[in-house]
Every structure is written in C-alpha cells, then in structure tokens.
C-alpha cells in the first residue's frame, strides 16, 4: 500500500521538477527584459539621461499626481470595499463586478471614455463647461485618469482583506457595546491594515505607470500633464538614453514601493504577507 521510500522520492523529484522548471522559466522571462534594460544603460548614460530637461518636471508631476490619486482612492475606496465585503445584496455584487471594468478596458479606450464623460461635449463635461470648469488637458485630468485605472486594484485588495476578517471579532465587539463606527476604526481597520496597504501599493504602482488614458484625456504637456511614462515615450522619439534613464527610475520607484509594502511592511508586523488579516487574528 505504502510506496517504497525510493519510489516516493523519485515521485517527489519528478513533482519538484514539474513545478520548479515552469516556475523558473516564467520568472526568467519576466526578469530578463528588466535586467536587459538596466545592463543596456551605462552609468554615464544614466546620469546624462537624468539631466534631460524632460526628467525633473515629469518626476515631480508623477509624485504629486499619484499621491493625490492614491489619497482619493483610499479615502473613497475603503468605505466602498467595506460595504462590498459585508453585503450579499445583488446590487452590490453587480457593483463589485462593474467596478473591475477599468482593469480590462484598453487604456486608450479608458481615455476616450473619460473624454466622453468630462470632455467639452461629454455627458458631464458639457455642463461643467458652461460653469467654466474645463477638465481635459489639466493636471486634474491626470489625477482622474489615474484614479479611474488604479482604483479597482485597491478595491480588490481591500474587499479581500475585509472578507477575511473574522466575523466573531466584529460580533464580540458589538456585544461589548462598540458602535459600528468604533468597530470599523478600532477592530476592522487595524486588523486589515496590511491587506489594505498591499492593495494601495499595487494601486499606486498602476497609477505611476498609467500611460494610455492620460495621453488621451490629459494630453502631453511638460510640467502640467506629462507624467513619467509620457516623458519616457516623448524622450523615445529623440533621445533613447533619457528614455532608458527614466525607465530605470520608474522601475526602481515601483519596485521600492512594492518591496516596502510586501516585504518589510508585512514582515515587521510579524505577518506572512500572503495570509494577511487571518494570521493577524491568530497572533
């Protein structure tokens, strides 16, 4: 009945090969272009690229707009995720599905859709135009585009995190007399913080890399709407070195961001990042 040790170890070996080889292939495939990008740039070229006139304004604008968009996403997205995670109503299920749409929309289409909504002849835009508010081609348009494409990533993470929250803890807190608001702020938020932070990091990375919708909806103007990805594409037309330098900056910033939240943030809290809220409750 029981397999002999040698047969079992052979089976283990085959299984290990069957899982590790495809895994290694995919990791190599994803890392190769990034490594090639870094090795394809000399240190001198990188420094010269950084001094390119497009770089400074784009970097500042990207930092500013993504901070604004992330703030909006977290402030508006957290209550939404809380509602979605706690309700089984049909309307909210549809909402949960509909809110994921920006993930599958091609970014350029998202940009056109934003124009149809907020543009001069748009649904809301035509009305805004009459009261003197012009959204397209402004920094506000960059932020709106980032919120549109990046919010679903935060909401996904936040909903998953709230759903893993042990309902017994909520019930106990309620029976001890805590108000729903107190339960949310004192029980749910602290326990779900790592999951929310991960969602926010992915969302931020997505906002930082946003290109298509911004180009369509906000245009490309240095200092006003030209974010890092747009500057990279503009530089690509004339100076490959500046484009490479900017790309490396973008990769470094995004990677640092993901590492900060996935790696250090979660581990210092004594949590395996993959299990999030659940483990916190056991601790």
């Amino acid at each position: 009945m029981i397999a002999s040790p040698s047969r079992r170890s052979r089976g283990n070996l085959a299984w290990q090969a069957a899982t590790r080889i495809p895994a290694a292939l995919l990791v190599a495939f994803i890392l190769l272009p990034v490594v090639a990008l870094i090795f394809g740039t000399s240190a001198g070229g990188f420094m010269a690229g950084l001094r390119h006139p497009l770089v400074g304004p784009a970097l500042r604008l990207s930092v500013f707009t993504t901070i604004c968009s992330l703030t909006a996403i977290v402030v508006l997205g957290t209550p939404l995720a809380w509602l979605l995670a706690r309700s089984r109503g049909r309307l909210l299920r549809w909402t949960e599905l509909a809110i994921q749409l920006p993930i599958v929309l091609p970014p350029a289409v998202a940009g056109v859709a934003l124009l149809f909504a907020f543009g001069r002849r748009g649904l809301l835009g035509a009305w805004l135009d009459r009261i003197g508010v012009h959204v397209p081609f402004t920094t506000a348009a960059v932020i709106l585009a980032e919120v549109f494409v990046a919010a679903p990533f935060f909401i996904q993470g936040a909903v998953a995190s709230f759903e893993r929250l042990d309902q017994n803890l909520v019930r106990v807190a309620r029976t001890l007399g805590a108000s729903p608001a107190r339960v949310f702020f004192r029980v749910a938020l602290p326990l779900c913080a790592p999951g929310l932070a991960r969602g926010a990091a992915v969302s931020w990375a997505r906002a930082l890399g946003e290109f298509g919708a911004t180009l369509m909806f906000a245009g490309n103007m240095s200092g006003r709407t030209q974010t890092l990805p747009l500057a990279i594409y503009t530089a690509l037309e004339s100076d490959l070195r500046a484009a490479q330098a900017l790309s490396i900056v973008l990769v470094a910033v995004a990677f640092g961001l993901l590492w900060a939240v996935h790696g250090s943030g979660a581990q210092f809290a004594g949590v395996r990042s993959r299990e999030g809220g659940e483990t916190v409750e056991r601790a």
């Binding site: 056109v112 124009l115 081609f137 180009l215 490309n220 103007m221 594409y233 530089a235 037309e237 004339s238």
Partner: protein, 256 residues
Amino acid sequence: MLSAIMCLATGPARAGQTQLVVFAASSLREAFDKLAGQFKRKHPGVEVVLNLAGSQELRLQIEQGAAADVFASADRRQMDAVKAGGWVLEERIFARNEPALAVSSASRALVRSLADLPKATRIVIAAPQVPIGAYTAEILAGAYRKYGPEFQKKVEARIASTELNVRQVLAKVELGEADAGVVYRTDIASARTAIAAVSIPPELNVRAEYPIAVLKGSRHPELAAAWIELLTSSAGRTVLGELGFLPPTDDARKRP
C-alpha cells in the same frame, strides 16, 4: 507552447506564398492599403504585409534586425539614421506632404486662416520630437515673426498639449476637445468626421518629404523594387494624389 510562440514570432507565412514586408509610416496607411491590392493583382501569389507605425518606431525595429523588405519613412531624419546604420540598398523620395490646420466643426467659422489661430480657445500640436511637431515649430516661428508678439503670446497660452503623434492631434480635433491643430493635409482627408482644412500660407509652410528604400536584409529585393516602381508609376501617383499627397518634385506637379 514555446514552439507555438516561435511560430508566431516568425510570422504567419503560409506555405508556397511569397511575402513582401513593407514598413511604412502610419500616415501612409490608406494609400498603401489601396496599393497593396493593386500590387497583388500584378504579382499573383505575393502577399504584401504592411507594418504601419511611427517612423521612429520602425527605425528602431529595423536597427534591431526586423525582417523587412521596404521602409517608407515620413521624414528624412529617420531614413538618414537607417542609412547611416548601413541597412539601405537604394533610396528615393516618392511623395511629399504638407502641414495644414485642422479646425473642429464648432470653430470653423472662427478660424479661417493661420492669422485667426489666436481665436481658437484650445490649440493642440505635436511634440517637437516627432516630425510633424518639428514642422509645426518651424511654421509657428515664421508666423510669430509675421504676425507679431501679440499673436505669439496668445497662441502659446492656448497650446493645451503636445501630442506624440499626428493621429493623436487629429483625434483631439475630431473629438472637439481642441479647436485647432497642425496635422498633415492627408490626415484631414482621411478623417471620418467633419473637420475643416485650413491652408497655411505657402511662404510660412514647409514640405515634408517621404523617402522610401529597399532594405539590405530584403529576401525579395526585386519585389521590393517593383513596389517602389508601383508607387512612382502614374497609377501610384493617382492613389497618393487622391489622398492629398503631393508628387516628389514641383515639376511633376505641373504635369497633367
């Protein structure tokens, strides 16, 4: 799975079918689509594969070793770079294009000439890094000299965006988000919505030359030469002319 990807990477070549791979600037889309049909009738069994993108992207692909037979560029700069890399067998100018103002349907009564440009509340042009953007900068510099500092101040204040290719400029005008933009005359001809073409005074305008070349890596140089011949034949001239392209030299223009 890997072999399937390899298959896709080498292109959709069917057995027994010869392919002519033409790399062309995106502004040539309509013209080359039409001419590909004519070429196929003349050369049965040959398939024309068009790769349409910005001239700069095509140049990068050629320099990275893309298998192409013909390269048609929308400006000299990119062709010269490809030539400097030793990729070009023979090269010639086959058409020219002319920048013009594209004016949205709502603003066509306001903007009737280049001098009216300050009446547009929102102007969109291309970035100086792309060919049409460089031409636009040249045209505007001339216009600033001619129409004075007041004109310059107003125009500069109303430029809302510097787009990364000419079709993006056109899209913004077509959507009505911009009142006016500088594009090629052929782009306005290809637009499917009602936008107006306003000519730029000839003394301020520039001519964009379209060079075409047979590439060194070509597997079918004789077919590549035949493609260029078709473009420069009277049939080719007619197709290009209908779409708003100008013949390569002014002499040819005067010919009936």
